[in-house]
């Protein structure tokens, strides 16, 4: 689905944001793209979707060079950016105007997700809140049935119940031939949703593993004392020490936040 080889990218005369970055991804996954602020998550999305061109290296998305922005490519890609523009028309009119451009658009699925998010079709896009706009865009994106869905900070602006609904609708809507990449720095929002973690730091992909691979090798827990544990990584939390340990026994849920902190602090996992 995505093949990126040895790309270098920089804005203007700034230093390289990406240096010989390599990344590939297949369909059928919900990927969490994690990284610190300014690590290049949004830029990577722009390159994958064809909004930016690279000076060196090669990028192939769904078998085509994305920067050509061919309609047959664009109608299989939906990008929900962090900041977006929506016209001042009702949801109903927006759907009427826009859905015709996506051949796989599923109106029934849209109605269902809109209902989950408690959005009415008569609502005017200019009069609803930032969070409601985001919910509408997420619903629309899922209803397009595009093969590649890119969500940049989708949970920003969502209230707590909506974050849970977001996880539910994404998990229930995704199909085997689809790839969903969710970029976020609010890692807890995508816990129990993603099946793969990709971490980007200092212009490179420094971690790229499926959740089951992580849970097969590591255990995540909170302990009162670490003296006899020999942890791979530890952080002091309000309830004690949060630790990553080599798995020795039954698997535990992956603590994405702890894992991310360990990775960006250079702990080799």
């Amino acid at each position: 689905m995505i093949e990126i080889s040895d790309i270098n990218y920089r804005y203007g005369r700034q230093k390289n944001l990406f240096s010989n970055l390599n990344y590939s991804e297949k369909a059928g996954n919900i990927v969490g793209l994690l990284g610190k602020n300014g690590s290049g998550k949004s830029t990577l999305f722009k390159i994958i979707s064809g909004l930016l061109s690279v000076k060196s290296g090669s990028v192939t998305t769904m078998g085509t060079e994305p920067f050509h922005r061919k309609p047959s490519f664009l109608n299989q890609l939906y990008f929900v950016p962090e900041e977006y523009h929506l016209p001042s028309i009702s949801i109903k009119h927006y759907v009427k105007a826009y859905s015709g451009l996506y051949p796989g658009f599923d109106a029934e699925l849209l109605h269902q997700i809109l209902a989950d998010f408690e959005l009415k079709e008569t609502m005017k896009l200019s009069r609803i809140s930032y969070g409601q706009k985001k919910k509408f865009l997420i619903a629309f994106a899922l209803a397009t049935n595009c093969k590649l869905l890119l969500f940049d900070e989708p949970t920003n602006g969502l209230d707590i119940p909506s974050k849970a609904i977001f996880r539910k609708v994404v998990a229930s809507s995704v199909k085997d031939d689809q790839l969903i990449i969710i970029s976020t720095h609010q890692v807890r929002d995508i816990e129990n949703l993603i099946d793969k973690i990709v971490v980007i730091d200092n212009g490179k992909i420094i971690f790229n593993r499926e959740i089951y691979q992580i849970s097969e090798r590591y255990a995540f827990s909170t302990v009162s004392s670490i003296s006899d544990k020999n942890p791979l990584y530890t952080e002091v939390g309000p309830a004690g020490h949060r630790v990553i340990l080599p798995l020795n026994g039954s698997s535990t849920p992956v603590d994405i936040e702890l894992l991310f902190n360990a990775i960006v602090k250079g702990v080799i996992l």
Partner: protein
């Protein structure tokens, strides 16, 4: 499906653009109708003492074109004005050619149809209404300006100049992110000044007349070869400039990045 141009997709794209911008377009159109009607009522009935001739119509028509040019055509590709809008515009599933053709029709072709139609309709309505309201027997409002016979009197070099200006301001929309109309006008003034300077330099060194800018074809044919040559040169030169403008702005749109 063809990735360069597909009629069905183009219609879907046009439908999308129309529906999404319908409110703004209706607002613009109604403002224009109210503006023209109000202006004509006031000017014809008070300031010109009811005497409104062909020359007045010409001036008014050119004024309307200028307003359209600056405020409408000069702001072509509004989808490129901000990052948020550009993300949406560039990723809409339509080809660059389809997006370009739609914008070209809306910002360049449409004014050349809409302005005469609007003028014809509104002016006739205003003149008819004025006749009913005011004492018109000592006044003369000539609306025969709108008859086809007036096409013979058209100064085609003016029309060509107008088309060129429309194309220039339209093309500027793909190049300039902020204040495209103003920047396009300034660029056009600079480029045209340079072009005229070079033309006059070439013409004076080759000792040929530059009267070609205003001489009509039939006159040119009666003159010597040197003048005819310079006339042809100017036509080809401006044609080349138009082709460069259009293809250049298309390529700019095709290679547009969201930085």
């Amino acid at each position: 499906m063809n990735d360069i141009f597909n009629l069905k997709r183009f219609i879907s794209y046009a439908k999308y653009q129309t529906l999404v911008n319908l409110r703004v377009k209706m607002l613009l159109l109604s403002s224009l109708i109210i503006g023209i009607t109000g202006y004509l009522f006031i000017v014809i009935s008070y300031f010109t003492n009811g005497n409104w001739f062909g020359t007045h119509w010409w001036a008014f028509t050119y004024l309307l074109f200028a307003i359209f040019l600056i405020f409408y055509t000069g702001n072509s590709f509004p989808g490129l004005r901000s990052k948020e809008k550009a993300t949406d515009f560039l990723l809409i599933p339509a080809s660059t050619l389809e997006k370009y053709i739609y914008e070209f029709f809306e910002r360049v072709v449409f004014p050349f149809i809409a302005i005469p139609v609007l003028l014809f309709t509104i002016c006739n309505a205003v003149v008819y209404s004025l006749g009913g309201i005011l004492e018109m027997n000592h006044r003369y409002v000539d609306i025969s300006f709108f008859s086809l016979s007036y096409l013979q009197d058209l100064d085609w070099s003016m029309v060509a100049g107008l088309v060129f200006m429309f194309l220039f301001l339209f093309a500027g929309g793909t190049l300039f992110k902020r204040f495209p109309a103003i920047k396009s006008i300034v660029s056009m003034a600079v480029i045209m000044s340079l072009v005229m300077y070079v033309l006059f330099k070439v013409a004076s060194s080759a000792k040929i007349s530059l009267g070609f800018l205003v001489i009509e074809t039939r006159v040119v044919n009666e003159l010597d070869n040197q003048v005819t040559t310079s006339y042809d040169f100017s036509v080809w030169f401006f044609l080349a400039l138009v082709i460069i403008l259009i293809s250049g702005s298309y390529m700019l749109l095709k290679r547009k990045e969201l930085k």
